[in-house]
C-alpha cells in the first residue's frame, strides 16, 4: 500500500520520476488515518503546517524535487527499504521515517553515524547494527547495561554532554570517514524540553540548534548517502513532537538543497 502525501503547507510534491529527495514514511496506518494517526504519519501530516523554506540556506526542498510517500502493508519497513533501494538506483536521496530503529537496521548500507539518545536491545539488535560497519554513536546518554557492554569497540561513542560541550571531538571522529555515511537520527537525541517523543524521557539531550549543528557537521564532513528519522513511534498527531520531526526533515532537505549532501 502506498499513499502519496501532500508534503507541505500549500506546495505540491514532485513525482517519483523527477524528484531528488524521496521521503518514505513507513506506516502501520491506513491512508484515511492522515491527521489522526501516530508515528511516521503524524510527522508527515505535520509537514503541511510548516513553511517549506529553509532560512539558513535560503532554499526550499522543492528546489531539488521532493517526493513523499507513506508506505504500508504487512511489513512497512521492508517495503520502505525496498523503495529506498529503488530510489538510490535512480540517483535519488532516500530518507525513511520510521517508528523505531528497525528502519536503520535494515536500511543502512554504509558506515553509520547514529544520533541516538539511548541504546538498548528493545527494537532492534542495535549493538549488532553498530558493529556492522564503522560507526559513530553520538548524543547518547542512556543505555541498558547489557547493550552498553555489547557495543563493539570499533564504535566511537560520543555522549550527549561531549557533543554539546566539545563538538570538535565529533568533527574529528567524522573526519575518519572518507566516504558518505548513513545518517540515523532518533528523535530521542533531543532534550525532552525540546520534544517529548516517547514515554521514556531522558534528561540532558541536545538542544534544537545542537542537533541542527550536528547534522550540518555530518553533511559538511563525510557527506550523507542516505538517512532515516526514527523514534517517532509514540509521536502523536498534531503534537509539537510531530512538528519537530517535520522540521528535522526540512533541515535535511535544506542541506541537500544547498548541495552539501554526499
Amino acid at each position: 500500500m502506498t499513499l502519496t502525501i501532500d508534503f507541505g503547507f500549500s506546495d505540491s510534491s514532485a513525482s517519483w520520476t523527477d524528484a531528488y529527495l524521496a521521503l518514505l514514511f513507513a506506516c502501520r496506518a491506513q491512508p484515511g488515518d492522515v491527521g489522526r494517526a501516530s508515528g511516521p504519519l503524524a510527522v508527515a501530516d505535520a509537514s503541511r503546517f510548516i513553511e517549506l523554506f529553509e532560512m539558513q540556506v535560503g532554499l526550499s526542498p522543492l528546489d531539488i524535487g521532493t517526493y513523499a510517500e507513506a508506505v504500508g502493508g504487512d511489513d512497512p519497513v521492508e517495503t520502505a527499504v525496498a523503495r529506498a533501494t529503488e530510489a538510490r538506483t535512480r540517483g535519488m536521496f532516500p530518507i525513511i521515517v520510521g517508528d523505531d530503529r528497525r528502519v536503520t537496521e535494515r536500511h543502512s548500507a554504509e558506515p553509520l553515524v547514529a544520533l541516538w539518545g539511548k541504546v538498548g536491545r528493545i527494537e532492534a539488535d542495535e549493538t549488532a547494527l553498530l558493529g556492522r560497519h564503522p560507526a559513530i554513536l553520538a548524543g547518547v546518554r542512556a543505555a541498558t547495561n547489557n547493550a552498553f557492554q555489547a557495543i563493539p569497540q570499533t564504535v566511537t561513542i560520543i555522549t550527549a554532554r561531549t557533543l554539546i560541550e566539545q563538538r570538535e571531538i565529533f568533527r574529528e571522529a567524522l573526519s575518519r570517514f572518507k566516504d558518505p555515511v548513513h545518517l540515523s537520527i532518533d528523535l530521542d537525541v533531543l532534550s525532552p524540553a525540546v520534544a517529548q517523543t516517547s514515554r521514556s524521557l531522558e534528561p540532558g539531550g541536545l538542544s534544537w540548534y545542537g542537533l541542527m549543528d550536528a547534522i550540518e557537521m555530518v553533511f559538511q564532513g563525510p557527506g550523507v548517502a542516505a538517512a532515516d528519522l526514527v523514534g517517532t513511534g509514540q509521536v502523536g498527531p498534531r503534537t509539537p513532537a510531530a512538528l519537530m520531526g517535520s522540521q528535522v526533515l526540512l533541515r535535511l532537505a535544506g542541506l541537500l538543497a544547498a548541495g552539501l549532501g554526499g
Binding site: 500549500s10 503546517f49 513553511e51 525540546v194 498534531r238 509539537p240
Partner: protein
C-alpha cells in the same frame, strides 16, 4: 521615552478563525485574566508590583462568536482608539494574531508608527489559503498600513515572504541571532518614535511556551527578551501592545504564567513611576 499614560486598558479579543495546526487561542484572553486574578504580581526584575498604582480597565468588546475578521478589527480598533484618545495604554490579548490589526490601525491613524513583532513566523504572506486576513498574513497587512516593521525571533517563512523581505529591505532578526548577541538592538534606532509591540507567544522557545498553535523549535528565551524590551521601552514611545496566540490547555500552565508575567513586565515598563 514619553511620559507614562494615564491608564492601562487590557482588551480581551478572543477571536479565532484562521489558526491551522491546533485550535484554542479563543480561550487565551479569559485564561490570562483568570490567572491574572490568581497571581501576586511583584516582579523582581522591576523591583515592584507593576500594576500597583496604575488605573486600569478591562474591556471585553466582543466574545468568541465573531467570525468575520473585518468586524472584529473594527470593534477592536474602536476600543483601542478610544483608549489612546484618552491617554491610555491599550494591551490587547488574543486570540489569533489577526486581532493585532484593529489596534495597529487605530495607532497608525493617530501618527507615524513602527511595529515591533516578536514571532516565530514572519506572517508576511499576501494570502493564505485564499484568505488575506489569515493569521499568516498579519504583518503583510501591517505593511499595507505603511508602518515600518522589525521582526524578531523569526525562524519560519515561505519563499514568497523571503523574497518580500529581500525586495523591501525589511528588518528581520532570526531567532538564533537574538541569542548570539545584541548588535541587532541598533535596528530599533531606525523605527519611528511611536511604536506598537506585538508578541505572538510562539516567538518563545516551545520549552518555555508549549501552548501555542504552531510551535517552532529554537526560540529565544525569557530573560534575553526582557532585556530587549527594557531597551525598546527606554528608547521609544511604545503606544500600544498585544499578546496573542496563547492556546491554553491542561498541563501547559507554564505558558499561561509566562503570558501573565509578560503582561506585567510590559505594564511595568510603560508605567515606570507607578507602584
Amino acid at each position: 521615552m514619553s511620559d507614562a499614560p494615564a491608564n492601562l486598558g487590557i482588551v480581551a479579543l478572543p477571536f479565532e478563525v484562521s489558526t491551522s495546526f491546533r485550535k484554542g487561542t479563543s480561550q487565551g484572553p479569559e485564561a490570562i485574566l483568570e490567572e491574572f486574578d490568581r497571581l501576586d504580581h511583584f516582579d523582581f526584575r522591576l523591583g515592584r508590583d507593576p500594576f500597583r498604582g496604575v488605573p486600569r480597565t478591562i474591556v471585553k468588546p466582543h466574545g468568541p462568536e465573531i467570525i468575520d475578521p473585518r468586524i472584529e478589527q473594527a470593534v477592536a480598533g474602536r476600543v483601542a482608539g478610544e483608549l489612546l484618545d484618552n491617554g491610555g495604554f491599550p494591551i490587547s490579548l488574543g486570540g489569533e494574531h489577526t486581532v493585532s490589526l484593529g489596534p495597529v490601525r487605530a495607532a497608525r491613524t493617530r501618527g507615524e508608527l513602527g511595529v515591533v513583532q516578536l514571532d516565530a513566523h514572519s506572517d508576511l504572506r499576501d494570502a493564505y489559503e485564499g484568505n488575506p486576513l489569515s493569521h499568516a498574513c498579519v504583518m503583510r497587512r501591517v505593511l499595507d498600513m505603511d508602518c515600518r516593521t522589525l521582526g524578531l525571533g523569526i525562524r519560519s517563512m515561505c519563499r514568497e515572504e523571503a523574497d518580500l523581505i529581500a525586495r523591501r529591505g525589511l528588518d528581520v532578526v532570526p531567532a538564533r541571532e537574538i541569542t548570539a548577541g545584541r548588535d541587532w538592538w541598533r535596528l530599533v534606532d531606525g523605527l519611528p518614535e511611536r511604536v506598537y509591540l506585538t508578541v505572538d507567544l510562539d516567538y518563545f522557545d516551545p520549552a518555555d511556551v508549549p501552548a501555542v498553535g504552531t510551535p517552532e523549535p529554537g526560540g529565544p528565551a525569557w530573560d534575553e527578551t526582557l532585556a530587549f524590551l527594557e531597551h525598546l521601552f527606554s528608547t521609544k514611545n511604545v503606544v500600544a501592545a498585544d499578546i496573542v496566540e496563547l492556546m491554553p490547555g491542561p498541563g501547559d500552565e507554564s505558558s499561561l504564567r509566562l503570558a501573565v508575567r509578560l503582561l506585567g513586565f510590559i505594564t511595568g515598563l510603560r508605567f515606570p513611576r507607578a507602584g
